[in-house]
Symmetry: C2
Amino acid sequence: MAANGASGGATHKFDPNFTKNVIAATGPKAAPRTRKVLGSLIQHLHDFARENEITVDEWMSAVEFINEAGQMSTDVRNEGQLVCDILGLESLVDEITYKLASDASDAPTATAILGPFWRKDAPKLSMGDSIIIKSSQDEEVTHMYGIVTDFKTGKPIGGAELDVWHTAPNGMYEQQDPEQPDFNLRGRFTTGKDGKYDFYCLKPTAYPIPDDGPAGRLLKMLDRHPMRPAHIHFIVSAPGYKPIVTQIFDRTDQYCGNDSVFAVKDSLIVDFMPLKDDKKAKFELPYDFRMASFEDAAKHSAIGSTEDSTA
Amino acid sequence: MAANGASGGATHKFDPNFTKNVIAATGPKAAPRTRKVLGSLIQHLHDFARENEITVDEWMSAVEFINEAGQMSTDVRNEGQLVCDILGLESLVDEITYKLASDASDAPTATAILGPFWRKDAPKLSMGDSIIIKSSQDEEVTHMYGIVTDFKTGKPIGGAELDVWHTAPNGMYEQQDPEQPDFNLRGRFTTGKDGKYDFYCLKPTAYPIPDDGPAGRLLKMLDRHPMRPAHIHFIVSAPGYKPIVTQIFDRTDQYCGNDSVFAVKDSLIVDFMPLKDDKKAKFELPYDFRMASFEDAAKHSAIGSTEDSTA
């Protein structure tokens, strides 16, 4: 445990007992998980401050940065999450949470971050419907279809819900864009007994994450671009199965190798295939989702359940 | 540097290149200090997440905690700062910033955290004035006096400003308390050629930091009390001298050994001495401030100037 280690203690010139005393102030009634996680957080924060000899001015500008991120956050914008995303933190905890034994060749579908633009209560649609409420000139309609199966038995899963969302060709989600109707490019589909699904959406577009706030300033300080590769978001859930939160990425996108929020995994890169002689769509995209039952997920998961929440 | 180290890399079961890739995304135009500090921050945050196997749910509750701290912050309340304070971070960066060579037996006055309750533009008062605008029943008026000197030459410093503030006997600063007049228990005093100062204030009172927000929830999770030992705040500044931000603490206070924000230093503990036969005050408190010129401060400081701000 870093919390009990002497990390940095031997070499720095500051009070050698300070961090120990702060951690030791934790009372006897703190939950075990709280004690472990926050003790480790204090140790890392203090080591970080000492290693970099952080000044009061630097620390205070970080406090103002964080306060501003909170003040900017609303029902339709989560700036704190966005700041974490550009530091790779959401992708990392996603990996940690969903890590499965890597030797399973028949592994469930990989996961990717939820991101800050999901909305609950997207419209429930029927198979074969389109999530496009408002058309636009440069849109490229895509017919997406596939099957939801149990990754272990290979059997189709009926009653699975696919919650799907993506941006308009202008790179904006509907809640960011007053020109788009409510819930444009969002929908939920429920599989029948055959586990199959199909719907119409757009071939997605690369877009910049909102960079007019603290997260954008951080990107500029880091001399980084704000672009995300074109992707479609999914939450796939079914009774008795571990939900899959994921994104699939367009292989032809130039940002697949340098996503500003570090969410791309090789197994999530897909090929949109041109469709000939189809009146409704220019592209087709077959994609299957493989789910793990809670039982199998627990068996394969890298981590057990946590004792309590940390904050 | 942690940013370039392989900390944790050998033992954990997660993508061994992930953190390296996030740090490597920093562009060529990032300032050297930004590259160092944020690279180290990313390394520590990721190591923390891996060592504790932080889940998406735990991380998301931390994001909501931080956003809420920002939303609660106003002109008169800085919740982000308060959260840092109870984790010992402000006291640590204060130590880092002001650390002077410890072998100087004639060292300048020690520093302590600014805290979230300082206000600019406190009333300018004359020597011998009182900062008490509104009296209260259980107040214990104190005559505080002393001299401001150059810590190296011992000579008095004229034109030095003492900015002083403390809570009312109910434990509240005036901006927290609608019953107190504006700028009650705050004042600024400027020394004459003799470097001397004196004014009337109160013997201060222990009080809880505001615990009705995220910082308070964090304290409860850690099974810790919110109390601060009785103290008086000062900023002492003079042309050509490094400002001193400090607090002095009442030795008789039970919380001197367990300050909720870890600000107490031995050299800042003082004795309020009973005054007999004084109509204006019950206690007296002699206290001298020793300042370092910018030149001497630079010589003694543990750290050089920083190349740029970090956030």
